[in-house]
């Protein structure tokens, strides 16, 4: 009978050690779950580049020079690389220029170290976020741990990051009611989301109360009149978007169909006589058969081509909208040097901001459009339209 078998299954993982609540060392958890552990540690490996992703941390600024112009005046214009495996979460954050040339708050650490939940427990939410990152840095050793996603007691998936809990509560969603399938996405949504630091206490916050689409997010930031930085060439109050994988996915056919992040990024794989979740979280393009084929009966090559066709179209739109935004920046800057006042350029600057944050939403979303093809194209269309209107507004201001 199934009940018994489930007990069996539960015994099956060798319970060689008692994993305590506070335990974050993956090696210790790994003694009970060697198969998952052996896969998990592979996130340290560099499996190379895919057409638009992969684990080689090349400089995105060199690959897409327009970024330096679009982010001019912000630390992202100085250092921003292709992201890689979870193993590097704490390391890459510690080494980026973005934590060196800027005094970042502890809030940065929320998604970059397994020590965080304990620190928050000790210091309290506000204190933790507001404390300078460099003060916390010494205690941020473990980039990623089983404890981030699992309850050591039951191995259930669990949410360990307050920002996600708060954001979902604000949307009236009770995480206690989450199904197992939903948790297979929510554990990722703790970190793979757009965010900002709220108020003096730099509280890590997700801008979701109006909804998850880029238009809702734009509206949200407008309402609280928020800006990440001032554009160096135009003086526009700008917004930076970061890794909105969860938000983009939410608008997709896959989301509508109940397909979770883990379905594609942690597919079940056969290990000896059992199926385990592939804890080597990475680009599905390195293993489309496991990631896609159970649901899509197409061969490996065809599946890869489907992804690439979607990505090529997205990439072409990204390049066009970068051109449009850079043209807008040039035209506004020209108008400035021609002595046009900030007031007369206010409209143009607002349009630049709106174009830029839309492009950024797709550009910093790491699937190059795959997570929601039509939505990504729609957003870039709006971005180009707004950028060209910014240019037009500046030209008209000059008359």
């Amino acid at each position: 009978n199934i009940q018994d078998r489930k007990e069996e299954a539960f015994q099956y993982p060798l319970n060689v050690v008692e994993v305590g609540e506070g335990e974050i060392d993956p090696e210790v958890w790994g003694r009970n779950f060697p198969m998952e552990y052996d896969l998990f540690v592979k996130t340290e490996l560099d499996y190379g580049e895919t057409e638009y992703g992969g684990s080689t941390p090349y400089s995105k600024l060199e690959k897409v020079p327009a970024m330096k112009r679009i982010w001019n005046g912000y630390s992202f214009a100085v250092d921003h690389n292709e992201e890689r495996g979870h193993y590097y979460a704490a390391i890459d954050q510690a080494n980026t220029q973005r934590t060196k040339i800027v005094d970042q708050p502890g809030a940065c650490a929320n998604c970059h170290a397994a020590e965080v939940p304990a620190l928050i427990e000790k210091m309290g939410w506000a204190d933790f976020n507001r404390t300078p990152y460099n003060e916390l840095k010494p205690s941020l050793m473990t980039g990623s741990s089983c404890a981030d996603c699992h309850d050591p007691e039951t191995m259930d998936l669990r949410i360990t990051r307050p920002a996600f809990k708060n954001a979902m509560a604000a949307r009236g969603i009770d995480l206690e009611q989450a199904t197992r399938q939903e948790m297979r996405t929510y554990v990722c949504a703790q970190c793979h989301v757009e965010y900002y630091f709220k108020g003096e206490d730099k509280l890590l916050t997700f801008p979701w109360t109006k909804g998850l689409s880029i238009d809702n997010i734009d509206e949200y930031y407008e309402e609280i009149d928020f800006a990440d930085w001032t554009h160096k060439e135009t003086g526009a109050p700008m917004l930076k978007m970061q890794h909105p994988e969860f938000e983009m996915w939410s608008s997709s056919i896959h989301a509508r169909s109940g397909v979770a992040c883990a379905d594609c990024h942690m597919p079940f794989i056969r290990q000896g006589s059992v199926k385990v979740s592939d804890h080597w979280i990475r680009s599905p393009l390195t293993h489309v058969n496991e990631s896609c084929q159970t649901c899509h009966q197409w061969d490996e090559k065809e599946l890869e081509e489907r992804v690439l066709e979607i990505q090529h179209k997205t990439a072409a739109l990204l390049r066009s909208s970068e051109e449009a935004i850079v043209d807008a920046i040039d035209t506004i800057a020209e108008a400035r040097s021609a002595g046009i006042s900030d007031d007369d350029l206010a409209g143009a600057m607002k349009l630049q901001r709106r174009a830029s944050l839309r492009w950024d939403f797709v550009s910093s979303e790491n699937s190059t459009g795959f997570h929601s093809p039509q939505e990504a194209a729609r957003i870039l269309g709006d971005s180009m339209n707004l950028a060209r209107q910014a240019q037009i507004a500046a030209l008209l201001a000059e008359r």
Binding site: A9, Q181, G258
Partner: protein, 158 residues
């Protein structure tokens, strides 16, 4: 997995009788159940399912799946235990015969939750070894096999 045939034959006939009576009570002639071959539900030979042409597509595809050699229709569509098995056979056999006779059912056919749960358990029955770890912890809430494997019995898509 396979049961003692004499035993099965016995249960089969009692249920056929029961079902037939039900038929009369329902005011429908037993002829319907017989002629529409609802009795097929009481057999385990997939060919019996095919007695209804509307089951034929599923049969034809099943023949080409990896499960052809592994599982019959009833291995997936009826519970393991006897009583459950024949109750379900009687219920489906009856409902579907009536549906077939009246021609009153939606197409394309779509499995209903009652039968979907039976299938899910069937998967677990045969595959609990390989999927044992998938159940580890996780509130005992089983993952939905059909979310990824709905095609295994007979692909849905052309």
């Amino acid at each position: 997995m396979h049961c003692n045939c004499r035993e099965r034959g016995y249960i089969k006939w009692t249920l056929l009788f029961l079902a037939a009576c039900l038929g009369l009570i329902a005011g429908l002639s037993g002829f319907t159940f017989y002629y529409a071959q609802g009795t097929s539900y009481l057999q385990d030979d997939p060919v019996a399912c095919k007695n209804c042409h509307i089951m034929r597509e599923h049969y034809d595809v099943w023949v080409r799946t990896s499960h052809h050699s592994a599982a019959t229709c009833n291995d997936c569509h009826t519970p393991r235990d006897f009583l459950g098995k024949y109750m379900v056979k009687a219920v489906n056999g009856w409902n579907h015969s009536v549906a077939f006779t009246t021609g009153n059912f939606p197409e394309p056919l779509k499995i209903k939750s009652f039968n979907r749960d039976i299938v899910q358990n069937a998967c677990l029955n045969c595959h609990q070894d390989v999927t044992g770890l998938m159940g580890a912890g996780l509130n005992g809430e089983n993952i939905d096999c059909l979310h990824c494997h709905s095609h295994v019995g007979h692909h849905r898509r052309k």
